[in-house]
Amino acid sequence: MSGLEIFAVVAAVAAAGAYLFHRARRFFKPSLGGGCCGKCPVARSSAGR
């Protein structure tokens, strides 16, 4: 495994992990208990505005 490959694999896995962690954090965010988070399909349907 070359240095480039090690770097690419580590970077890809780290980026994927960070993204999933970010999604999971948003999932448990207490803001959901209050107003709309604007992320669900219903809220997103207003994006065309």
Binding site: F27, A43, R44, S46, R49
Partner: protein
């Protein structure tokens, strides 16, 4: 509420109110250029949405409120409308004016709400929407006469065609500038005395001074939202005060709960006398004629089931060729990218097997999603959705599900999230909670790729395409059939919900607009691809890493020593398979696999199932990645269905047997049909109820799914062989 651009103080706020299914959102979309969801059934809009509207040179924040028949506000969606109009929503001042959208065909009933809004003292414009449909049925409304009588502008519009928009802009400007308010009901002395009694009683308790319109809501409504919002001191018991005030009405000869309706309708009757012309001889409308068949107690159900069968058969057969093209495109991309990365085999595997293989395996199912949404849009926009709910109520009402539950449940066939939000139309909180807890059992579009993969790989080759279409149809009924006993058990043992009468307005049948259908298909396709490009890519990369590593050289040496006389191709496949068998993912999968062994799952299916808890489609990406990196399957086409069909157990009591069989495929489908594998749905359930109920739903559905999969496999294996 959807995020809105910041609105400065100089921007007017205008609310759109009206009875359900009068075309408020169509008008909202027309005025603001928004693309909010519309549909031909009551209760499409359940939360307020706002948009910018350039109204005759003025900047207006237009707010589309959920439909309501009255301001009595018995359900959560109606309460949003009431709170907004009275300025009780946190950080939301009352609107500067209100546009009350009325269905020209049902004018008198629709003006009831307008009259209640007028009671709040807000400037008002009445919009006679769908006036073309009213005229077609012979109903003529004299808008000028009605405007003079009501004292507010009455504008004739056809929102779908954009007719009457200029006149509406002028009318709104006039209503704001001149604070034009609608003629109020001349309340009898007894009502005024009762209102004064309530006011005095509340002021003694230190409640802030309420307007007369709000006090009338306290007096007339069975459970008024006003007192909740007015800052009633803790411990204040309102019942004696209300009872005494209603006694004043009773003494004057009014039934306290029906007094408002009688007085308002009498007033509306005077205002509309001579302004509405009904046809002398009422003809049976097309809607009524069609309904005699489609809502018939026997034929209605037969047609409903037949129609659903045709829908799922079409999804299966129409999408097939397009699916083939996407598969070819994915293979082409893999073929083009692989040589560029050949000097770096690990990177090549990550990109070709992990990212392209994983995501490509999911994207292949886009045509099915598009065809499904074509039919869902068609059913919703024609008005058949409400009939479906009516038929479902007849069949399943016995289990204690509220009649109004069936609209959210049918909506959940597209996606459980809007389905759960649609439960806001249900007044009874316990009935609403039951519906929230069973709605995710309806087979949403995210399950479709899993069904199509399994049916295409195992049912169709064994039993033909008709059976494949039927299986897809049957899988969509599994959730509904299971939801009925679950709802019954929840009501009987946990929530104690009493049966509720079902009251749903049947909308007239309409020819759907192609533009709306195409837009909904595009919206869903965009969302599907967005998921594939974000969460699925991320999951595919993680799965790839877990299945690719570790790579000790000793594994290769061992395989090469044992199979030295094999051809290089076969040898490479054996090496790849051996690496996977000792990967991190395989070790974790084997650890958990005994839990799923009774349902016939091997470690690959087990990790696919576990990885799919954030999003169902991940199982396809997982299997695509695992089999893309390597297996002993002698399959050159790269078609995941064929690869799955050829895979065999390498060890254990079933060594040499096929991993996937018809019973295993059925067990996988049943597991996915019953399991709550959607993070977004769990979050929305928590928002609409609380985290306790969301966790409860997750746990009961997981156990139900596991039990369903085990039962399916065990019964299937007995009759069809494992």
């Amino acid at each position: 509420m959807a995020k809105t651009p910041p609105v400065s103080a100089s921007v007017l706020r205008v609310a759109l109110v009206g009875n359900p299914n009068t075309g408020k959102t169509t008008l909202f979309n027309r005025l603001t250029g928004a693309r909010q969801k519309i549909g031909n059934y009551p209760g499409v809009t359940v939360e307020k949405k706002s948009g910018a509207w350039e109204c005759g040179g003025r900047r207006v924040e237009l707010v589309d409120l959920p439909g309501a028949y009255s301001l009595a506000a018995s359900s959560p969606d109606e309460r949003v409308a009431f709170d907004f109009l009275t300025g009780h929503l946190a950080g939301e001042p009352a609107p500067d004016a209100v546009i009350c959208v009325v269905d020209a065909s049902n004018l008198v009933r629709n003006l009831f709400l307008a009259s209640q809004v007028a009671d709040l003292g807000l400037p008002l414009v009445v919009v006679l929407n769908m006036s073309d449909a009213a005229e077609k049925s012979g109903i003529r409304v004299d808008a000028h006469l009605l405007s003079r009588r009501l004292g507010v502008p009455v504008i004739r519009t056809v929102a779908t065609k954009g007719e009457g928009i200029d006149a509406l802009e002028k009318a709104v400007n006039r209503a704001v500038d001149e604070r034009v308010c609608m003629a109020q009901v001349p309340w009898p002395e007894a009502v005024n005395r009762a209102v004064a009694y309530v006011r005095d009683g509340l002021e003694k308790e230190g409640v802030r001074r309420l307007a007369d319109g709000e006090l009338r809501r306290v007096l007339f409504d069975r459970q008024s939202a006003v007192l909740d919002r007015a800052g009633v001191p803790a411990g204040f018991e309102s019942a004696p005060l209300l009872s005494a005030s209603r006694d004043i009405l009773t003494a004057a000869g009014f039934q306290s709960l029906s007094a408002e309706a009688l007085l308002r309708y009498e007033h509306i009757g005077h205002l509309t006398a001579g302004a509405i012309d009904f046809p002398e001889k009422r003809r049976r409308s097309w809607t009524e004629r069609i309904d005699t068949v489609l809502t018939h107690r026997v034929w209605g159900l037969v047609i409903f089931v037949a129609m659903m069968f045709v829908v799922f058969q079409s999804i299966y057969s129409w999408a097939g060729p397009f699916m083939g093209w996407i598969e070819e495109a994915v293979a082409f991309v893999q073929g083009q990218v692989a040589p560029f990365l050949a000097p770096w085999p690990v990177l090549q595997s990550l990109v070709v097997d992990g990212v392209i293989g994983g995501v490509g395996g999911v994207v292949v199912f886009l045509p099915q999603i598009l065809v499904l949404f074509f039919f869902i849009s068609l059913l919703e926009d024609t008005g058949y959705m409400a009939r479906g709910a009516f038929l479902m109520d007849k069949v399943f009402g016995w289990c204690g599900l509220n009649g109004k539950s069936f609209v959210p449940m049918l909506s959940s066939y597209a996606c459980a999230i809007p389905g759960i939000l649609a439960t806001r139309t249900i007044e009874d909180p316990r009935a609403r909670l039951t519906t929230i807890l069973v709605s995710p059992l309806m087979s949403c579009s995210a399950r479709l790729p899993v069904y199509v993969l399994m049916i295409g790989a195992f049912i169709e080759p064994s039993y033909g395409s008709a059976a494949a279409g039927f299986s897809l149809f049957a899988m969509h009924f599994v959730g509904l059939v299971v939801a009925v006993p679950v709802a019954w058990a929840l009501n009987r043992f946990l929530l104690g919900t009493r049966p509720q009468p079902f009251l749903l307005e049947m909308p007239p049948y309409r020819v759907p607009r192609l533009r709306d259908i195409l837009w909904r298909m595009w919206e869903r396709a965009r969302e599907f691809l967005l998921r594939a490009g974000t969460i699925i890519v991320a999951m595919a990369i993680i799965i790839w890493a877990l299945v690719y590593f570790p790579r000790p050289e000793s594994v290769r040496e061992k395989v090469e020593a044992a199979a030295a006389f094999e051809t290089p191709d076969v040898l490479e496949k054996r090496v790849a398979a051996a690496y996977i068998e000792q990967s991190y993912l395989a070790r974790a999968g084997r650890f958990v696999q005994p839990v799923f062994a009774p349902s016939g799952f091997d470690w690959k299916i087990t990790v696919g199932v576990l990885a799919s808890f954030p999003a169902r489609e991940v199982i396809i990406a997982t299997l695509g990645t695992i089999y893309g990196i390597g297996s002993e399957v002698d399959e050159e086409s790269g078609d995941l269905r064929k690869i799955l069909a050829a895979d065999r157990w390498g060890e254990g009591p079933r060594a040499g047997q096929h991993v996937f069989s018809v019973p295993v495929a059925l067990a996988i489908m049943v597991f996915f049909a019953l399991c709550l594998q959607c993070g977004a749905t769990v979050a929305v359930m928590a928002k609409e109820s609380n985290w306790g109920w969301a966790v409860f739903a997750f746990l009961y559905m997981t156990f139900l799914a596991w039990g369903g999969a085990v039962l399916t496999y065990q019964v299937g294996a007995r009759f069809l062989g494992s």
